[in-house]
């Protein structure tokens, strides 16, 4: 399996290291043409506004949408979750608009409110160490969205078809269980593509 990490800005190396740790090949994606032979893509944590500027500057927006619409899995963490969402609270427009959720940015507060907590994540872990940094969360999820984890009543991990998103940063810890989950999604999607 070949998993890309969008490498415009943010915690790219950490994701790449986790991808390699679960036995897949990591590709740092800086150019649109690199999307062509990937089995899945990670949108890393970083600053969503900065990443969006660079997405626009290098005409990544439509190719990233097309990548998702072709059925290939995308995993967004923190800023990546904001990029994936169909709706952003208090903002008129969204970014990729692929995942049927409404997210609120910096929803837990500023950096002094950033925190660590152990989370139960459905089908992944009972005690996943989650690091939240100026994190967003999901305010509303569409009917087809599976809620994987909540922290004090707020949705912080969810899956909508082949899109996976977390408000926290699995890449900042050594725990690879979420990446294994995503790799399985990529393998399943690749399997389906072969059968079609």
């Amino acid at each position: 399996m070949k998993i890309g990490v969008l490498a415009l800005q943010g915690a790219v190396a950490e994701h790449a290291r986790t991808v390699e740790a679960v036995g897949a090949k990591a590709v740092l994606v800086k150019r649109v043409e690199q999307l062509a032979d990937l089995d899945g893509l990670i949108l890393p944590g970083g600053e969503s506004t900065a990443i969006r500027r660079l997405i626009d500057r290098y005409d990544f927006l439509e190719p990233l949408r097309a990548f998702g619409e072709s059925g290939k899995p995308i995993f967004g963490t923190c800023a990546g979750m904001i990029l994936l969402a169909k709706r952003i609270h208090n903002q008129e427009s969204s970014h990729l608009g692929l995942m049927d959720v409404t997210v609120e940015r910096n929803a837990f507060g500023r950096q002094v409110d950033s925190f660590e907590a152990d989370l139960a994540i459905k089908d992944v872990a009972e005690d996943f160490p989650a690091v939240f940094i100026r994190a967003p969360y999901i305010l509303e999820a569409g009917d087809g969205v599976e809620i994987l984890s909540e922290d004090t009543g707020r949705i912080v991990a969810a899956r909508d078809r082949h899109y996976l998103a977390t408000a926290f940063h699995p890449e900042l810890t050594e725990d690879t269980r979420l990446m294994e989950y995503f790799l399985k999604m990529a393998e399943d999607a690749a399997g389906k593509a072969v059968h079609r």
Binding site: A11, E14, E47, R53, L54, R110, F115, E116, A117, L172
Partner: protein
């Protein structure tokens, strides 16, 4: 149970800034231009370093009105500078909700012996360093992010290059050392032994190290990235240039694509005159900000 202010949370915040540009701003309008240009954070200041240099006198924490104005203007993280060792300035900034504090030699130090005990704070800190000893001391005090000191407000990259190369080469030296040699190396550097052991075990600094102090052109930013910087602080360069928005965007792109020389050539066209710059040799030792900090 949720835990705030942990090493992971503080250092992780800086990890999210990697590959990005942090820009000095002095008001809301500049902060918005920075955000729109793709800055990953802004540093709220009363005066940019070149103006601090020109004004002389004691440079202090910015007026909280400016910090507040910037906090309200943008959704990206906001950093602010406190004087070295000034516990109260740092606490004031923390209480205002600033996302990161720069314990900075650009301001006049408040304490000529001791830096802040940064472990005591929930807010994370960035500090300047010129070599591995200084870097390890700051990490020991709890800094969650490092940057080169460079020579702020000069538009001259030479000192930032020196500091980045020095830290990198000393980390390489440490990594190739026999364990028996580390304590003496710690003694020579004035570095905490435990921090050096940790670096030696992982092969790298436990926190990100950005370039700062003298970045004046897109090529300067790309040079620092190529030398191993995790990202770039730009101080006086942007809003002292003829077209700040264009200049800011060019720096951001050069930082992302630091090995794409054709792109950097395009970005560098028609940017107008960069800041004039100062030859470091012409600065008397007491006018070198990098000498501040211990």
């Amino acid at each position: 149970m949720a835990k705030t202010g942990t090493d992971l949370v503080k250092r992780g915040m800086a990890e999210m800034q990697k590959g990005g540009v942090i820009m000095d701003v002095v008001n809301a309008e500049q902060a918005k231009i920075a955000e729109e240009s793709g800055a990953v954070a802004v540093m709220a200041l009363e005066r940019v370093p070149s103006d601090i240099r020109a004004a002389g006198g004691v440079a202090r924490m910015a007026d909280p009105t400016i910090v507040e104005e910037v906090l309200n203007a943008v959704s990206i993280p906001v950093m602010a500078k406190a004087r070295i060792g000034h516990i109260v300035e740092a606490r004031v900034l923390e209480s205002m909700g600033v996302d990161y504090i720069d314990e900075s030699e650009v301001l006049t130090p408040a304490d000529e012996q001791y830096h802040l005990n940064k472990r005591d704070f929930t807010v994370p800190f960035v500090c300047g360093s010129r070599d591995l000893g200084e870097a390890a001391r700051r990490i020991g005090e709890g800094a969650a992010m490092l940057r080169t000191k460079g020579e702020p407000g000069t538009g001259n990259i030479v000192e930032a290059v020196r500091h980045m190369r020095m830290v990198q080469s000393q980390v390489r030296k440490l990594n190739s050392m026999d364990l028996d040699e580390v304590m003496t190396f710690a003694k020579e550097l004035g570095a905490p032994y435990e921090v050096l052991l940790q670096i030696r075990e992982t092969g790298k600094l436990p926190v990100v190290n950005f370039a700062a102090g003298g970045v004046a052109t897109p090529a300067d930013a790309a040079l620092m990235m190529q030398l191993g910087a995790d990202g770039v602080f730009v101080g006086s360069g942007i809003f002292k240039s003829d077209n700040p928005s264009k200049f800011a965007k060019a720096i951001v792109e050069a930082t992302t694509h630091y090995q794409d020389y054709k792109l950097i050539a395009e970005l560098s066209k028609g940017l107008g005159t960069p800041m004039k710059g100062i030859d470091i040799a012409s600065l008397s030792p007491e006018n070198r900000m990098q000498e501040r900090g211990w």
